[in-house]
Symmetry: C2
Subunit: 301 residues, 2 copies
């Protein structure tokens, strides 16, 4: 395994994605570099009140520390407490237009280090889409690109990582999927470093192709107060997932990460309302009945 | 210990508080009773778009189950997994006027049950105040009533529970207190049931006296968009605390509680903004410099 190589890739990935998003938005990202007192640092690229993106961030971080938090690995709790090194790119984008979905993408690399032993390393990542008003063709497009990204690594990956995504991005306290899914993977270290790295790179590299066409298609649709209101209500679910269930967020907050960078994932305006549900048959109800259902968007061949 | 007696008290407490708040607001609370599939149930009283209260809820719940969640007791992790019975009243109120503070109050009773052993029981509770624009006299009034509520149980309780409140309602990831504090206690079972029950009752009974005068004094102060905006921003901290750190919220969500009742604590409109801080010397900065500082609001005699 070659940490420097992964780090170089991630730095470039952040730059490429920010450049692509600036082109799509027409506005520019603010760029903040920061150090982590316990070791390492990162660069946060943020946009607020853009033309298309109401709020969003693309983070790069490279941190190291003495005690790996339990939230860093689901599969190998025995590694908790080891010295570790971790690097990743993580992004969340909240477009202003309620017809344009929120998106999340993350690629990460971990190494758990112990003197006198081989380091244990693994990759994780994925991307997933959270519409407010769903479009079947958008869901299909997003999943097609996800599948396309994994295809070179083997056709077994997409179905496995698609299912994993549905399981991971699930609000247990609402019995509700976060969105229409995508792909998610963690603890990936087989068969070897090069294969895992290539798979992870392909996910990162395909992000713009998966999301930007959807953003462009939806960002100029006319909308009114009703749609903004529903968007603000549904964004509450995004907050609930990220703060209650997301291991990435908890890892960041538990490991002394930079709070403002971690919480860039939270939407700009959010509403909570008691025991609300949309009128049957309304466009808002369609989100629940047709999209938040853990569906297979592509034929499972 | 007498569970039925505690339950009767809590049911009455909820009714009294709702009646007092309806008088203060002029509007009325909606009342929903619900069953918990795993055992027990509750009644949620909710107000939204009231005259004074933008959103708020007063919950009563009485639940029992087979496995006590770890979040239920900080002091005795060995009780996790036992059968349990729990009852409590919990409230959060978010006034519309940014000069009126958000408030939280909770009183609760737990019993961990094991066949062939005496049940282990304890009380917990407290109240704490979260201003957006602080007023020293409000903080002093709130703490005076807290102290007054605990005085009959012994003068040692207020300083201890005041400190505990400051420690508990603290956003570690922000290095920031949630508000100006109040009192907090948990795992209270000494010297005996009657003494603990009396103390807990006194906290519940003093809530209206602690909060309503502050609400009435502030709810008609003139405000504009600037103050509403700061309130929405600061409410984000309330969401962060409740979803990331609050054991009561996590207990509810982990134990299959009624999500809409638990999340009544979340504010109606919330904003997140990247790396924002108020201009030095502004009224907004005063909140940070003069109020969110873990201060002793009463002389420590």
């Amino acid at each position: 395994m070659d940490f420097a190589q992964v780090k170089d890739y991630l730095v470039n990935l952040q730059n490429n994605i920010v450049a692509g998003l600036e082109q799509a938005d027409g506005g520019s990202f603010r760029r903040d570099s920061w150090d982590r007192p316990e070791g390492g640092g990162g660069t946060s690229c943020v946009i607020e009140e853009g033309n298309v993106l109401e709020r969003g961030g693309v983070n790069f971080s490279h941190v190291h520390g003495k005690g790996l938090p339990a939230s860093a690995t689901a599969a190998r709790p025995e590694l908790a407490g080891r010295a570790f090194e971790a690097a990743g790119v993580s992004l969340v984008l909240h477009p202003r237009n309620p017809y344009a979905p929120t998106v999340h993408m993350n690629v990460r690399f971990f190494a758990a280090i112990k003197e006198g032993a081989e380091p244990v390393w693994w990759f994780g990542g994925g991307m997933d889409l959270t519409p407010y008003y769903g479009f079947e063709e958008d869901a299909i497009h997003f999943h097609q690109i996800c599948k396309h990204a994994l295809q070179p690594s083997g056709s077994e990956y997409y179905p496995r990582f698609k299912k994993w995504c549905d399981e991971y991005f699930y609000l247990k306290h609402r019995k509700e999927p976060r969105g229409i899914g995508g792909v998610f993977f963690d603890d990936l270290n087989q068969p070897d470093f090069v294969t895992c790295f290539n798979l992870t790179k392909s996910v990162g590299d395909q992000f713009l192709a998966a999301y930007v066409p959807i953003l462009q298609k939806r960002c100029n649709l006319p909308y009114g107060e009703r749609e903004r209101d529903f968007q603000a209500y549904r964004r509450g679910r995004y907050v609930e997932f990220n703060l209650v269930w997301d291991r990435g967020t908890l890892f960041g907050l538990q490991s002394g990460g930079r709070t403002e960078s971690i919480l860039m994932s939270l939407p700009p305006i959010v509403k909570w309302r008691y025991d609300w549900s949309p009128a049957a048959g309304s466009p808002e109800a369609k989100l629940y009945t047709d999209f938040l259902i853990g569906k297979d968007w592509l034929p499972l061949d």
